[in-house]
């Protein structure tokens, strides 16, 4: 009896070692970045996708390895009708199984989203597939996005990591956070406008810079245009909290201010949905960090004039951005829609369907700026 017991149960132990889904870590190919481009002469509406696969060995530099070490990534690309189809065909070229749970960045070429595709259709797979994470950062590239994943950064081993850090640190300078794939879900479902970092090729060593932000129209998910330079500053000044730098023209000379902790509040001045009147209350507390004029700024009367210029400059950049968004692009990324929905739900219900589309209440809205300027300190020198 006892022997029978063993004969039956001991073989069962063999089953314990079985596993249907076992996949050794060596066989996983971790994807860290994805670049999506259109295909030239695109008759079949194909997409070209390149994935950056990490080579873990290349990430570790050994002390005696003077030759510079191995490559730490490889780029594999393929063509297909949907992102998932491309992924499958990339997998055929790869020795491992693509593991998408650590993607940091998805770069999409602007040629793709200007006319042909809705961005939400392209990145749907990054939200739907179960192993994806919501923290993926989206970016738009000027021209070819593939090239960006081929740059040679000096301080980090992976181009995708470099780009992610580049975007994050630039946003952080303005005290903002880049939108992630998880955040985008809201804009896609509610058909609201949004903006994404806009990357450009440059001839510098790293070959890349954050050139501005790409503005997308909510109703059709297409790129409406970009905001650059001053316009970004103007956009940053409309955020609830920000840090920015303003360069003020003062009697033909320049003076630079930093605003380490600026703050902006939105107010609604009337209740007429046909002609809404918003006001930005901007509180700027500036620090003078650079002035090319030999005036004694420790004396208060000299700073008064500068203060006025400071306010005018802020007003100038803000109204430039606002007018561009209202009149040229017709996209509300000023968060008026959020504000109305949260604070004035009754009014929002009336204008919801024609906000920055159709009747375009957004473009018709009046915006006044109420800028409160303070110069906290003139700096160490006079």
């Amino acid at each position: 009896m006892r022997y029978l017991f063993f004969l039956f149960f001991v073989p069962l132990l063999l089953l314990l070692a079985g596993c249907w889904d076992s996949l050794e870590i060596e066989n996983r190919a971790f994807v860290s970045g994805v670049a999506i481009d259109p295909v030239k002469d695109n008759g079949d509406k194909n997409l070209k996708m390149m994935t950056q696969v990490v080579i873990p060995n290349g990430l570790v530099s050994l002390p005696n390895n003077s030759s510079g070490g191995e490559k730490s990534f490889r780029n594999v690309s393929s063509i297909g009708k949907t992102i998932f189809e491309v992924k499958s065909s990339i997998e055929e070229k790869e020795d491992g199984d693509l593991d998408n749970s650590h993607i940091e960045i998805v770069i999409i070429s602007d040629e793709l989203v200007k006319s042909e595709y809705k961005i939400s259709d392209i990145i749907d797979v990054f939200m739907r597939e179960s192993r994806m994470n919501r923290d993926i950062i989206l970016a738009v590239a000027n021209g070819s996005s593939e090239e960006l994943l081929n740059i040679d950064p000096e301080n980090v081993k992976l181009p995708s990591q470099y780009i992610t850090e580049l975007i994050k640190s630039n946003y952080k300078l303005a005290d903002l956070e880049p939108e992630t794939a998880g955040d985008m879900q809201y804009f896609f479902i509610k058909n609201r406008g949004y903006y994404l970092p806009y990357l450009e090729n440059t001839p510098s060593t790293t070959g890349i810079q954050l050139g501005g932000v790409a503005v997308f129209k909510g109703e059709n998910g297409k790129m409406a245009g970009i905001l650059k330079g001053d316009e970004i500053t103007g956009l940053a000044l409309t955020r609830p909290s920000f840090s920015e730098t303003l360069i003020v023209d003062h009697n033909g000379q320049k003076a630079s201010f930093t605003i380490p902790d600026g703050r902006t509040e939105i107010k609604l001045l009337n209740n007429d949905p046909e002609n809404l009147h918003f006001q930005f209350d901007v509180f700027l507390t500036g620090e003078l960090v650079e002035a090319s004029e030999g005036l004694d700024f420790i004396k208060e009367e000299n700073i008064e004039n500068l203060k006025k210029q400071f306010r005018l400059e802020a007003e100038k950049v803000m109204s430039k951005t606002i007018s561009k968004l209202q009149n040229d692009y017709g996209v509300d990324i000023l968060e008026f829609h959020e504000f109305l929905f949260r604070k004035h739900p009754d009014i929002w219900k009336q204008v919801e369907n024609n906000w920055d589309s159709g009747k375009n209440y957004f473009s018709d809205a009046d915006v006044t700026l109420n800028i409160d300027v303070m110069i906290r300190e003139p700096g160490n020198t006079n």
């Binding site: 249907w20 889904d21 923290d135 998880g182 879900q185 809201y186 479902i189 959020e338």
Partner: protein, 370 residues
């Protein structure tokens, strides 16, 4: 199989307190923020959660109270003395069917969700069987041991949830709670059944109250347990809204998993949702064990001489078979819906019958005495 005998097989008030959350918190925790957010605006869903919690606390009180009036008696004994034997058998059988369906449902859900997040190729037959074997192992042992495991798991869940809430705080945006009270009355009303269903399972107290040492005091602990669940649900819901926002919560299949997904880079761990997964699976495991145990208990109450382990083993094939019936996500959630409504209806019918008979008989008894 040898089991360790405990002192008297009786349970304390604290145990009753933990049984309620153990059975109520099940797979629903992963999905209820979605169903709630999809019908309400902002964070308004907490109102229906609160109402659902109040309903749950009331029914807990009524169930525990009626059962405590018959200290030491099993459900079958006191229903037959109140409502005649055939009705007692009928009710017991209905509860029996309900509990084995619950076991199957939870198992099917586990298979479904682990397919979604963990395994791709493993057949659900294998997952179900492995899960049910572990459940069976727990049920075959002493009943008190189940409660002790449950106690541990509830503490673990509570601690994990508190940690989750704290670590998610940095990504929370409290503006997402706004606007408040904009949901119209109709939507609240339409949502209410869902909220109430999230709290099903307290009927186990019909059966477990006979095990307590101090029945009258246990009523209070059971109600505290129900209130704790309400607090837990509301906290998790508000956290989902604050971190993911109403729209994302309403459009994500398992919002709570996504919430854990958002919490990243704690020390060397990049993605910690698998840890939370383990914890939720243990709470689901606890619900399954209790439901399985109740179905065994119902049989042993009716046939006191029956061997518990034998019955537990006999039930396994049926449970396994039912757990394989729903094949996709939609069927699993439909089954959950059916179970929720069935549990509520059965509980209400039993409660109404018992209380009516109790009042009726109580008056008669008084008249007889005077």
């Amino acid at each position: 199989m040898r089991t360790v005998g405990y002192a008297d097989g009786k349970i304390s008030n604290i145990t009753i307190l933990t049984i309620v959350p153990s059975i109520v918190i099940a797979v629903g925790i992963l999905t209820y923020p979605r169903t709630l957010a999809s019908q309400t605006e902002g964070a308004d869903g907490w109102i229906t959660l609160l109402i659902g919690g109040a309903v749950c606390a009331c029914s807990t009180f009524l169930i525990a109270k009626i059962a405590s009036l018959f200290p030491g008696q099993s459900f079958y004994t006191y229903t037959s003395s109140m409502l005649t034997k055939p009705i007692a058998i009928l009710l017991s059988m209905l509860f029996f069917l309900l509990t084995i369906t619950i076991v199957s449902y939870e198992t099917a859900f586990i298979a479904n969700i682990s397919h979604h997040y963990l395994f791709e190729k493993t057949p659900s037959e294998a997952i179900n069987l492995a899960f049910l074997f572990v459940v069976l192992y727990a049920v075959c042992g002493e009943r008190v041991a189940i409660f002790r495991t449950g106690f541990g798991i509830i503490v673990l869940t509570a601690v994990a949830t508190i940690v989750l809430v704290i670590t998610a705080l940095p990504s929370a945006d409290w503006n997402r709670m706004l606007p408040t009270f904009t949901t119209d009355f109709k939507s609240y009303l339409g949502e209410l059944p869902n909220s109430i269903l999230s709290y099903s399972g307290v009927f186990v107290l019909f059966f477990y109250m006979k095990l307590t040492r101090t029945p009258s005091k246990s009523v209070k602990s059971a109600v505290i347990g129900a209130i704790a669940v309400t607090g837990f649900y509301i906290t998790v819901y508000l956290m989902c809204i604050a971190v993911l926002g109403n729209v994302s919560t309403a459009n994500t299949v398992y919002p709570l998993v996504e919430l854990a997904n958002m919490v990243r880079s704690i020390g060397f761990l990049d993605r910690i949702e698998s840890l939370y997964f383990v914890i939720w699976i243990t709470t689901v495991f606890m619900t399954t064990v209790i439901a399985y145990d109740i179905s065994v208990l119902i049989i042993t109450d009716i046939f006191p001489k029956a061997n518990k382990i034998f019955i537990a083993f006999c039930l396994l094939p049926f449970v396994y078979f039912i757990s394989l019936l729903p094949t996709d996500y939609y069927q699993v959630s439909d089954l959950g819906m059916i179970i929720g409504y069935a549990a509520k209806c059965l509980t209400i019918i039993t409660l109404v019958f018992l209380w009516i008979m109790y009042w009726g008989k109580g008056r008669k008894g008084k008249r007889g005495k005077s």
